[in-house]
Assembly symmetry: C2
Homo-oligomer: 196 residues x 2
DNA sequence: CAACAAACCAAACACTTGCTTGGTAGGCTA
DNA sequence: TAGCCTACCAAGCAAGTGTTTGGTTTGTTG
């Protein structure tokens, strides 16, 4: 008796269940029987909806990435000043953690492993694309004078990327601090440091 | 079974091989046959040296943690000023990444999963211990006036922890930047921010 | 009502997994 | 020389793995 109005198809329900498990237990460590159990069906029945376990992750990751990089592209293309762009990019990332926690976690934890398969070559492309976005924003910031001249851009990029995305490990929606609050605090530290 | 003699060279070789694989492919995703292949023996022969696959990770992680937390304890107990202590703790961490890359990676990637077993309950204890260390250092910094008064200590702790440890994903010894250089840059960003 | 498709079941398949057992080769020492 | 020890092999087992196949239920539609 799961009366799901809305456009939530069974396929999407199953993907959400799989995403939750992949994110918490890992892809390899989640069996198709785990997924089926959580969905209240038998493992074989999953293959009525999906070709393989791999295609499930594929669908989860690719659709999320498409959405995220669309937002990055908007920011880069905007005519805001460098500091505002940086600000916006950070906030979009924390927003993604808030709204697509499982997808972010899966990407963080499994990208290296999955990337070894041809099917997931696009993950490496996305990584490169992300690097380009942040490098562009940071370089804009330096040449406009908003950021310090002595920064190692690659290192700062990694600092931001790691710190932002790794927050998916502890952030839980509905906690005391919203993702807006966290973004505020993070930007303060990043831009001005922790010393008085 | 348990305490065997020391200087068992072959045993240490096998542990190093296992650590490399666990760090790269993940614990669950590394089979005992993978380890045996890399060592040039058959999988069953591993059980002459170890009780189980789990006991291999156990040995790898526990001995590393013991070493690391010994160093943290020294720093906390020292009479250096707050900022110097913070500095030292960050540097010790990057040093650990340099010298025990595999061990750090395994802990970062597998602690959550392994922590669900009784055998690895000590991992959670170590996490708590680490949190206490950083909170102490940060609180010292705030009350001494070296750090800003408006900081959310727990959030700053997470940012530091994440940023430092996640570097194990991309840091490779012998690269252009040494772990000393990276620690310098990170501390600059952390303490003073990236704005001019 | 008949026709149909979506969702699922029941059972199995081939393969992989961690681990066990009994045995052997070679070095060291009394 | 005999005894012992470390390190390993060869073969296999039971459980778990992703996936396939043929059939069943249920609701919708012409």
């Amino acid at each position: 008796m799961t009366s799901q109005a809305q456009t939530s198809t069974r396929r999407e329900e199953l993907l959400a269940i799989a995403a939750e498990l992949f994110a918490t237990k890992g892809f390899k460590n989640t069996t198709v029987r785990d997924i089926a159990d959580a969905a209240g069906i038998l493992s074989g029945s999953l293959y009525h909806h999906f070709d393989s376990k791999e295609s499930m992750v594929d669908e989860i990751l690719s659709s999320f990435q498409e959405e995220l990089f669309g937002k990055y592209a908007e920011i880069v293309a905007s005519d805001a000043d460098p500091r505002a762009k940086l600000d916006a990019a950070v906030r979009v990332s924390f927003e993604a953690i808030d709204q697509h926690r499982n997808e972010v976690a899966i990407f963080q934890n499994e990208a290296d492993y999955l990337g070894t398969f041809d099917r997931f070559a696009y993950l490496a492309d996305r990584n490169k694309q992300s690097r380009d976005v942040w490098h562009a924003l940071l370089n804009e910031g330096v040449s406009s004078g908003a950021l310090r001249q002595d920064l190692d851009i690659e290192l700062v990029y990694r600092f931001i990327r790691d710190t932002v995305w790794v927050a998916v490990r502890w952030y839980r929606p509905g906690a005391k601090l919203s993702h807006h609050d966290i973004a505020d605090q993070y930007l303060t530290i990043l831009l001005d440091g922790i010393t008085s």
